[in-house]
């Protein structure tokens, strides 16, 4: 049995693929600035992951993938992981990364926008260090500038070819036969990187993760922040190559915290009209599929329809309707799961009989794992 976990980190992304053979692949990491406050709803991801790893007696992950370098995907990650390129990011209790996955855009500073968070720069140094040393890194897409960069460091592109994966390829190092999983890379495309000053979201990592248990296949569409034109292009290219099955999904981790922009250019009044190719991607949902929105709770009130920041309820309405069309199961929101005040990670088990949620625990069973609300004197500042 494999396990997919989507952690409640607010409008941000942090998910994990825990394979049956014990391998752990972490996709993005966000320790919300208030996560360690037990009264803040976001999960203390740092603590949670350390507990999971300690249970495995491990202090590393097999893969840490940064889908793109925005703050909501890497916040706090340079304090959690051990980085090889500088001693100040090394220490006894830091978690080691066996293999770092990054889009080429993260390696090349010419793609960085002004608002790039500091931590993205740190990861750039780490990715470059590993790439130049030739170990523990996988770069997705091969823009001309990558070649130029490597040559400027006196390293030939050919000698690093084995560390680079292009869209349309399976990621080496994992296979259905040995690990029960394969990663089909949909994005980034080279063209995205070579159009000059491009949006990093357009070059985010997108995979169709195919998991297999006892011959039963489950497809997980793992999408970094992307907009409808990029997704549309992916759909069209994949269809053109006759790889339609690479668009199938039993689980769809929707992009950009349920932003309407991942469906179409107009938010819409009640629901967002998806572009034709994105609509076709939604039709690839399988019976009993799940859609996961890694975002704050999605309200259904007037304010929600008017707000500019994601999550957008109009987008949700579209996903829910499309999910019903394919006899899917549920549209789930990370910050709503089990409780909005203290959400629990969404844990999906991938078994030989398909996918299911880990058995819900509640009542006394959960109380022995949870810290109950603080007991104490009432808050009464007027008497101070």
């Amino acid at each position: 049995m494999h396990k997919l976990t989507f952690y409640p980190v607010g409008n941000g992304d942090s998910s994990q693929i825990h394979l049956a053979n014990g391998k752990r692949l972490l996709f993005d990491f966000r320790q919300h600035s208030q996560a360690s406050d037990s009264e803040h709803p976001t999960i203390d991801l740092d603590r949670r992951l350390r507990e999971e790893l300690a249970a495995d007696k491990r202090s590393d992950v097999d893969v840490f993938a940064i889908t793109h370098g925005d703050k909501d995907h890497i916040e706090g990650s340079t304090e959690f992981f051990e980085l090889d390129h500088a001693a100040k990011y090394q220490g006894k209790d830091r978690i080691k990364v066996k293999e770092l996955w990054v889009p080429a855009a993260l390696v090349l500073d010419s793609f960085a926008k002004d608002s790039e968070p500091h931590e993205a720069k740190i990861w750039r140094q780490e990715a470059r260090h590993r790439l130049i040393e030739g170990y523990g890194v996988r770069v997705f897409s091969k823009p001309a500038k990558l070649k130029a960069f490597l040559e400027s460091k006196g390293v030939s592109l050919e000698s690093r070819e084995h560390l680079i994966t292009d869209a349309g390829e399976l990621v080496p190092g994992f296979s259905l036969a040995t690990d029960g999983v394969e990663f089909f890379c949909h994005s980034p495309f080279i063209k995205h990187c070579d159009e000059g000053e491009i949006q990093r979201n357009a070059s985010a990592l997108i995979f169709q993760v195919r998991l297999s248990v006892d011959g039963t296949v489950t497809n997980y569409f793992a999408v970094g922040d992307s907009e409808s034109d990029v997704l549309g292009e992916i759909v069209e290219i994949t269809e053109a190559k006759g790889n339609d099955d690479r668009l199938d999904w039993d689980i769809y981790n929707i992009p950009h915290h349920c932003s309407y922009l991942a469906l179409g250019p107009d938010k819409g009044k009640n629901s967002t009209q998806p572009t034709d190719p994105v609509d076709r991607l939604l039709e690839h949902g399988q019976r009993d599929a799940y859609v996961i929105s890694s975002s704050w709770p999605i309200k259904n009130d007037k304010l929600a329809y008017e707000q500019t920041q994601p999550p957008h309820v109009q987008a949700k309405n579209t996903y829910v309707r499309r999910l019903e069309d394919v006899d899917g199961r549920e549209f789930m929101v990370t910050m709503e799961h089990k409780s909005e005040t203290k959400p629990q990670p969404i844990e999906i088990q991938v078994t030989g009989s398909g996918v299911k949620l880990s058995a819900a625990i509640g009542g006394a069973a959960i109380l022995v794992h949870e810290r109950p609300p603080r007991a104490g004197v009432p808050y009464a500042p007027c008497f101070r």
């Binding site: 019976r287 199961r329 996918v355 299911k356 058995a359």
Partner: protein, 760 residues
């Protein structure tokens, strides 16, 4: 969601209503309202004499795997039914008409939806902790676990539903596995439990000429053509459907059924008297794939609420004439088809229960098959022996031969498995029969030898020699000592209760018999002498006995059967587990009668040595040697010594040296001489005798020689030995002396009864 009357779902009785008043139904409504997994579709109630209430829900179960082979869906519509009479268990029905046949369903009649068997415990127990929330949680668990096939993997489809049917049928393993050959027939017996509400039916395989059981005529059994393993079907509820099911899977019911009924009916006809209940038993060979070998046999059984004669009549095979059904003349050769009357005959599936076998008994009691397959002999089937056999026999451990010449007397009954009516029978016969009757006929291999365990009889020696384990439960001294001397015997164990009945003992040889049972007995006595627990261990020997007959041999002790049960269980289990290890063992369990505590003591066993001295064999062990060497070492440079305690077996001419006592305080000790004192010695010897039931006593003397001296006797030593021999002659005993030097130890023996000199 479609309305409840949608044709995809079964229709429900009762009236639609807005509110349910029953405590159970109301609790479930409340639970469903606050659980996002449950959506209430409608509420129904019947206020007539049935008085039930129903909550119809759609249950959304995320724990159901999305592609489960069982066929449970993410959303299932369920009817949760509650009777206003709370003593009746709630029922849970899956309303989807194509809800799959799964395990853990109750058998339902046609037209009634699948009924989920939610609870393992009886409702009266469940009700104690039942809440509305726990009930719907249980439903989620049922759906998710059945869907995940927790008990049956997806690649091993369930062949047969586990139904809670009114009737159960006990079926001999023989029928399922090999079918019936020659003149063997399956015979049906009703038990006292059978009435109109169901009950347990028992079938047995017997030979046809055995006197007819009362229900022979009510049972039609057949082996049908093979079917390929695969889909699970709900058991048919009419004969027509059963025939169709088998036909669809490439098998056939009709011809075997016709044959079966014709066989039962001829030649003398079927009485019409017993005409209310009959049984159809189908043995179905299951193939893994078409044309492949038979993988296993599945048995399905059905109750028909009419006699076989009436069924035969409905099938137009039999005709009723003068109170009996006879074969109807066969008209023409056209292929036979079941007539409509027969197709419509209602049949009810019943639960088939596998009969008891030794293998099954082992499985139930946790006894490993390979450890249980051995030949054992037990010597003595008194109260303890009969108890041990009762336990070992029922759990299927070993194939036993029983040896005991005793017959059952009235005073045996309270502590024996014997019955009053068996007074006067040989104990072995009674115990063997009791055991054999705990299993189906001929299942148990058991031998009974109503003779003494006399090892001078070559036949007995041979009988015991052919076994893998001999258990002495004779509570005698002589049998284990005899067993020890015979090289041709297998591993020997000796088990007994102490005279007070408070303690029990297991002595067991190692598999290669390096350490014999008499040598273990000897070391057991040393522990009794030395350890605190030995103080009261054998207490009560011959003190509370009373005479039940005229002769002195008729002595029996006061002993509660409760203690036999406590220690019998302990010994049976310990010996069974110890015998799986190759080592020798000596264990004591002591029962505290005030608290009920049982404490365990283990005797540390050491390798033994025998030294021949004239016509005596001296038996001693490394424990004694180390002990003497240590006493010598501690006293160097002066000599030391003391008394040897043990016992001499006049019959086997073996002298067992149990222990060497240290020098009494008033001994004279110097570097060149030792004169043993007497201070406290008499009391010590008395205590040793008391502790060991008078078995261990004074046997001789030991002393040490200083460094540089050999263990050869000095002139003084020989004078002392002669003195001892003269004294012991009064008791008819020889005298023994042990001399311990730096490098060696020597034994000397002098017997003034049969003076033949001095031996060392």
């Amino acid at each position: 969601m479609p309305p409840a009357s949608d044709s995809a779902y079964y229709e429900l009785g009762g009236e639609r209503c807005d509110e349910l008043t029953g405590r159970l139904a109301a609790a479930v409504v409340q639970a469903c309202e606050s659980d996002p997994r449950f959506t209430i579709v409608e509420l129904r109630a019947a206020r007539d004499d049935k008085s039930f209430e129903i909550v119809v829900v759609d249950c959304k179960c995320h724990e159901v795997p999305s592609k489960n082979a069982v066929g449970i869906q993410f959303i299932e519509r369920l009817a949760l039914m509650f009777c206003l009479d709370e003593s009746r268990a709630p029922e849970t029905f899956a309303l989807r008409k194509d809800f799959p046949a799964t395990e853990h369903q109750n058998a339902t009649l046609e037209g009634v939806p699948a009924s989920l068997c939610l609870y393992f415990e009886p409702w009266a127990t469940v009700a104690r902790t039942w809440t509305g929330a726990s009930h719907i949680q249980r439903i989620v668990v049922w759906l998710s676990e059945v869907a995940a096939g927790t008990l049956h993997r997806a690649d091993q489809p369930v062949e047969q539903l586990y139904f809670n049917s009114r009737y159960e049928l006990v079926l001999p393993a023989e029928f399922r596995e090999t079918g019936l050959t020659g003149d063997r027939v399956l015979r049906l017996f009703k038990t006292a439990s059978v009435d109109n509400d169901g009950g347990l039916l028992v079938s047995r395989v017997v030979s046809a000429d055995e006197a007819g059981g009362d229900d022979t005529a009510s049972c039609a059994y057949m082996t049908v053509g093979p079917v390929v393993s695969g889909v699970v079907e709900r058991p048919a509820t009419t004969l027509g459907r059963l025939a169709a099911q088998l036909r669809d899977r490439g098998s056939d019911l009709v011809i075997p059924l016709v044959d079966a009924i014709n066989t039962v009916a001829e030649p003398s006809g079927l009485s019409a008297k017993r005409n209310n209940l009959s049984l159809l038993i189908l043995r179905i060979p299951i193939l893994r794939e078409a044309g492949g070998a038979v993988e296993h046999y599945q048995v399905q059984a059905f109750v028909v609420e009419q006699g076989l004669g009436a069924l035969g009549e409905a099938m137009e095979l039999l005709l009723l004439s003068e109170g009996a059904y006879y074969r109807a003349p066969v008209i023409g050769q056209s292929p036979y088809e079941l007539p409509d009357d027969a197709l419509a005959v209602s049949i009810e599936p019943l639960t088939v229960v596998e009969d008891l076998s030794q293998e099954k008994a082992r499985k139930l009691t946790g006894v490993a098959d390979d450890a249980a397959d051995f030949a054992g002999a037990i010597l003595g089937v008194g109260s303890l022996g009969s108890q041990l056999l009762n336990l070992w026999g029922r759990e299927g451990w070993g194939r036993w031969t029983l040896v005991d010449h005793d017959i059952i007397k009235p005073h045996n009954i309270p502590r024996h498995t014997a019955l009053y009516d068996s007074i006067g029978e040989y104990k072995v016969k009674h115990v063997a029969e009791l055991l054999a009757s705990s299993f189906p006929k001929d299942e148990l291999e058991i031998g009974a030898m109503p003779t003494q365990a006399n090892l001078s009889d070559p036949g007995m020696l041979q009988a015991l020699g052919s076994r893998d384990l001999v258990v002495d439960a004779s509570t005698t001294l002589h049998i284990p000592r005899d067993l020890a001397s015979e090289d041709s015997l297998p591993r020997v164990a000796s088990v007994f209760l102490t005279p007070s009945g408070q303690d029990c003992v297991v002595l067991l040889e190692d598999t290669t018999r390096e350490l014999r049972i008499d040598q273990i007995e000897m070391q057991y006595y040393r522990s009794i002498i030395r350890e605190v627990w030995g103080g009261a261990h054998l207490k009560g020997h011959l003190s509370k006995s009373f005479w039940v007959g005229a002769g002195c041999r008729e002595v029996t002790t006061v002993l509660s059967p409760e203690m036999i049960a406590i220690h019998g269980g302990q010994i049976a289990r310990r010996l069974r587990l110890l015998s799986q290890e190759p080592y020798a063992a000596a264990h004591v369990w002591r029962h505290d009668d005030r608290s009920g505590d049982v404490s365990a003591e283990e005797v540390l066993l050491r390798p033994c040595t025998t030294t021949t001295c004239g016509d005596w064999i001296i038996v001693w062990d490394e424990g004694l040697r180390d002990h003497v060497a240590r006493l010598r070492q501690e006293n160097l440079p002066i000599e030391t010594g003391g008394v040897l305690v043990g016992y001499a077996d006049q019959q086997s001419r073996k002298a067992y040296i149990v222990d060497a006592l240290p020098a009494p305080a008033d001994s004279f000790q110097s570097p060149t001489s030792f004169e043993r004192g007497t201070y406290g010695l008499a009391a010590d010897i008395q205590e040793i005798g008391d502790r060991t039931a008078g078995i261990v006593g004074y046997l001789g003397e030991w002393h040490s020689h200083p460094k540089g001296s050999s263990s050869d006797p000095s002139g003084d030593d020989l004078i002392q030995l002669t003195f001892l021999a003269d004294q012991l002659c009064v008791d008819g005993q020889p005298a023994f002396m042990l001399i311990a030097a730096e490098e060696s130890m020597s034994f000397l023996m002098m017997d003034q009864i049969n003076p033949s000199g001095m031996y060392e």
